[in-house]
Amino acid sequence: MINIIQTTIGAILTLSIFSFLYKDNPLYRIAEHLLIGISVGYIIGQQYHMGFMNYVITPIFKEGQLIYLIPSFIGLMYLGFFSQKTSWLIRFPIAISLGIGAGYGIPYTFQASIFIQLRETLTVFSEPGITGFGIFSGVLFLLGVFTAIVYFFFSWKHRGVVGIVAKVGIYFLMIGFGASFGLTVMGRISLLIGRFLFLFKDWLHIIS
């Protein structure tokens, strides 16, 4: 019985959202606002148990680690948001998070997004037992990276040789965007198939 109730609720909400394909209507709006409310409520529950209880209440009040009163006090400054007079207080927790994040992010970005990526780009031919097709792919890969970077390089005008290289870069970018588009469409289609399977298999039992 509980299975029938839960699939029926899910199916009604699914159909309510699909009704937007016809036009904006109250059923869709109900489902949309319910989705936002439930999603926020879900985050509150997760943050309370996984964040507040695990990192604030348990360490401070159960384990007596009073050091965590400092970040809690900094975090409490966010509540200054409730009054216009104290709203400037929220700059402190933001400043601390931003400062630490920005400072820590610089060497990390250099390491993970530039050095490692550059090494992987320049060592495409170093694979043991590389075939002729592998070399061709490697050359094409290097050409793609180089020309696409040149396209994004605006310190020189895209004229002459630079213009030709940038043009090749655009072709590579278009192929890349086409592939990303195709993958996105197929991802959404598989989600759509999932919803139809839910409606016709799990709910209506029309297909086995």
Binding site: H33, P71, I74, F152, V185, G194
Partner: protein, 240 residues
Amino acid sequence: MKRQIPLMLVLTLGIIYFFVPLVSIPWVVDNLQYEVFNKWLKIIGVFAVIMSVASLWRRNAVKIKRKSGDYAYSYLELIGMVLMAALAIIAPRWNIGNGMVLGGIGGNSVYNWIFMNMQVPMQATMFSMLAFYIASAAYRSFRARNIEATLLLITAAIVMIGRVPLGENIYQFMLKLNGGEAAAFQWSRIFDFQGITQFILDVPNAATKRAIGFGVAMGMLATSLKIIFGIEKSWLGGTE
């Protein structure tokens, strides 16, 4: 002072934390990296959630108070939010039959039941609906007007065919016409949509993603430096 102290904090912490991942002094790793970076920031983040929830609450409460537009839907938003929060935080863990408990966030809780049977179907449907809009937008805008647009169109078509069984069926049919794997000249290879898709994803697509990735990384570095040195101040908000 209300602006200067936060700016000084960003500068000081930014410079200190620039060196934190670069040194391997145990005290720095234990305190600045593990303790402050991993734990303190999480604690501060928990309180940020309170602010964002309060902001959503205020937006809906104002709408209801002024009875503006479609304010009735705001009740639903608040009811959904309060119900889920109450079930997770306040509700007692009573057994309500069918192996379910009223409170808490466990796998057998009402909170989780609502998430699995209401939130998940709604969110999946929202995302799946984009298939219609993407298809519609593609139908209206995909025209082979020039080389760039043609490349985009052909690549998207190949990748889409290469990701469904139809692509493999076409290839198998063509392979049969070609005389099978043993044929001397494998012209059917041009219909190997799965293989071509993989090549597109591994080479030109990966190459452009890497180039874009370099650009993004440079942008992140520049933004981080601008924040640390106080050139970017929009996060301060207001003028006071």
